[in-house]
Symmetry: C2
Amino acid sequence: MASPSPVPASMAKPSEPVRNKRHDPKKPHITEEPITRSNWYKHVNWLNVTLIVGVPIYGLFAAYWTPLQLKTAVWAIAYYFMTGLGITAGYHRLWAHTSYSARLPLKIFLAAVGAGAVEGSIRWWSRDHRAHHRYTDTDKDPYSVRKGLIYSHFGWMIMKQNPKRIGRTDISDLNDDPVVVWQHRNYIKCVIFMGMIFPCLVTGLGWGDWKGGFIYAGILRIFFVQQATFCVNSLAHWLGDQPFDDRNSPRDHVITALVTLGEGYHNFHHEFPSDYRNAIEWHQYDPTKWSIWIWKQLGLAYDLKQFKQNEIEKGRLQQLQKKLDQKRQTLDWGIPLEQLPIVDWEEYQSEAKNGRALVAVAGVVHDVTDFIKDHPGGKALISSGIGKDATAIFNGGVYNHSNAAHNLLSTMRVGVLRGGCEVEIWKRAQRENKDISFVSD
Amino acid sequence: MASPSPVPASMAKPSEPVRNKRHDPKKPHITEEPITRSNWYKHVNWLNVTLIVGVPIYGLFAAYWTPLQLKTAVWAIAYYFMTGLGITAGYHRLWAHTSYSARLPLKIFLAAVGAGAVEGSIRWWSRDHRAHHRYTDTDKDPYSVRKGLIYSHFGWMIMKQNPKRIGRTDISDLNDDPVVVWQHRNYIKCVIFMGMIFPCLVTGLGWGDWKGGFIYAGILRIFFVQQATFCVNSLAHWLGDQPFDDRNSPRDHVITALVTLGEGYHNFHHEFPSDYRNAIEWHQYDPTKWSIWIWKQLGLAYDLKQFKQNEIEKGRLQQLQKKLDQKRQTLDWGIPLEQLPIVDWEEYQSEAKNGRALVAVAGVVHDVTDFIKDHPGGKALISSGIGKDATAIFNGGVYNHSNAAHNLLSTMRVGVLRGGCEVEIWKRAQRENKDISFVSD
Ligand code: HEM
Ligand code: HEM
Ligand SMILES: [Fe+2]
Ligand SMILES: [Fe+2]
Ligand SMILES: [Fe+2]
Ligand SMILES: [Fe+2]
């Protein structure tokens, strides 16, 4: 159970924020005091330490003396996937993001197995998760990765947090959902039954392996489900690409997807949070999406929300454009035209006659002296342009030079011809020094 | 031997173009007559058919009765690589493109093994190849892929070509190179000795396998070297990506590189023809580049030419930009602002009051009626913007919306507010309808 207030107020009225009954808003919260040698233990959330770290360590030791039966192993893995889906398909995509709608039986199933993952009630989890989306990477983000990878993974649960710090969000829809409210009110019972008793019952009544069910399908399975889903807050904000937006931390990576039942395309997810998919390509791993799709075929899920492909492509394109514009800044495009001296035609010709290898192309004078010997088209041809207006020669008259040749030419600029080809100059400037602002407007 | 005029004029003066002695410029060339049932055989270059197709078929049959000794196989493969390098490192990168300089011993070696590949003299090969670069994909290109893949592979040698059609190029540097001139004048002797006699001598004197040397290291090795290097004209203009320029046919592909001793990064090569490399990444396969580099370490090669990384990156960037601009055209960015009706503030408010869900952001009025139920931030928040100037709310006042949200918003435009936020309107127009011309200037 991962709530900062370990025992959620079981009688909370539908619209009232969850507050620990023991928390007195008038008394300063412990987090308002700096951590010192004498008070550090007061900053630690000992209940969460016990649940997230202590119990699993006990489980590991106990496993050493508990033989693992094949049937129990299969059940533990199956229940791992079911409780994981409770979080990803239930808590996350259904309730936190309402990315699809579910019929009552599916809702009850997801609320039940979700409780079995021991990560708090739907209501508490979704409220925090909505704050995470709305205030991503800021101080109001309950698990901001800007405070460190460990913090975003489980540091935020192990150390006490000031409830006033977390951003407020609208959860009126959840307060109107009877399954959510019932699960929240009966959370402790749910978690004990679905987290521990039910997996033991299966192994115990099924094949008499009570102890194996307790250790493997109970304690250790909870540990793995927790660690896996915690990765959505840590790994998914730390490892991978940012194809849609790089202003915030969410990232796409197949490793995160493999660990988190498909929640690894997190840059996409933060950009399109109410899309029931996290992976949009068929070949990407997103078993949560596949499950929702199957439930739809079975009539258990409906109204699957999807952003239009047009909107997705636009986002991808803008991010690529941004990267290109950044890259463009780092390259040398030659001296900007407006910083070049203005040269008269006569001046150009007399300098060229005096032995400087100057070539005029599109109203701009270029010094090609050092390049003649390297010219891919040979010395004779390039020399034929010296002292002339070589615009036509260069642009197809003799040879239609490549983009590469145009780029290279612009690094050899030394002057602008007075009155020469303004349109060409303007076109070139536009191509090279494009000033596109991607500030949010 | 792959020359359209099979026996090069052995006495050609250094600067005079190679012309078949039997060719009378006054008589109309056979290619000026259409191919008919009665004259088709006159269009075929029977000598080349014999050399490129006939002899290898004989070799294949003969191989059936000629046991292949291991030593002979090893030598045939080694000589395959040597003669292949004669073409790629010698004919192509050294002489046709002068992408590096070689000391006399290396020149003699490359001229010798190059002759052993039986693809014409350096002088003839380079002249055609320069025409191929200068007139790529046009009628003056001797092996234009626009005439079909088979034509570019060897059709251009199997059918007679009108020598007047091939583009003229400057080969004065080759005419000044004694190795090139000597090889051209003694081409028939060179080709018979290096193509057949020398490989037989090695196997015959070495381990008594005269016949195996003849068939495997001679005939079949020639066939494979020819087919491999022909792929530079066919496959490299047909298969793969175009990271630098997509106006012409050259393409980059690892398969072509594997077949052609590294000449497979052909889009790069046409853009930067005088670069001694074809592959610019260390992990790409370019044994020709590696050989030149080793020769440099041995003092046999010098002045290795390389385009600056800055120029290469600029080319790649522009091609990417071009692709993005094309993609941008295919997407729906909403009704252009200049096509929207101008709306007064009072009009906007009264319409919003009458039940139409209108939200004004940055001087533009949006109809969000169909979107309210799908809003990822909930119905309440989006509804709070109706009938207001929601610019600040939308841009961080309540929530700093993502690029995706901005994009989606623009597809919901229905009007422009009179006098509202012109700068914002202009910024948005610039971002979406960028009109960047990539015409060659
Ligand atoms: C003005 C007279 C010029 C003429 C007639 C001329 C002609 C040619 C020809 C015929 C080629 C084709 C060679 C081949 O690919 O094998 C060529 C290539 C090239 N030229 Fe020029 N050139 C001229 C000036 C310049 C100048 C001033 C530059 C400076 C940047 C330049 C840069 C290049 C480059 C980079 C290539 C490689 C192929 C390409 O990128 O298009 N040339 N030139
Ligand atoms: C004007 C008042 C609005 C307010 C106060 C508001 C508020 C919010 C909030 C708080 C979120 C965060 C929800 C989350 O990520 O969990 C959000 C998300 C979003 N809103 Fe709004 N919204 C408003 C209008 C609109 C409009 C008119 C659109 C139409 C395009 C829109 C499109 C979106 C989208 C696409 C998201 C998903 C996250 C993102 O892309 O940033 N919103 N909104
Ligand atoms: Fe996240
Ligand atoms: Fe989420
Ligand atoms: Fe080519
Ligand atoms: Fe070439």
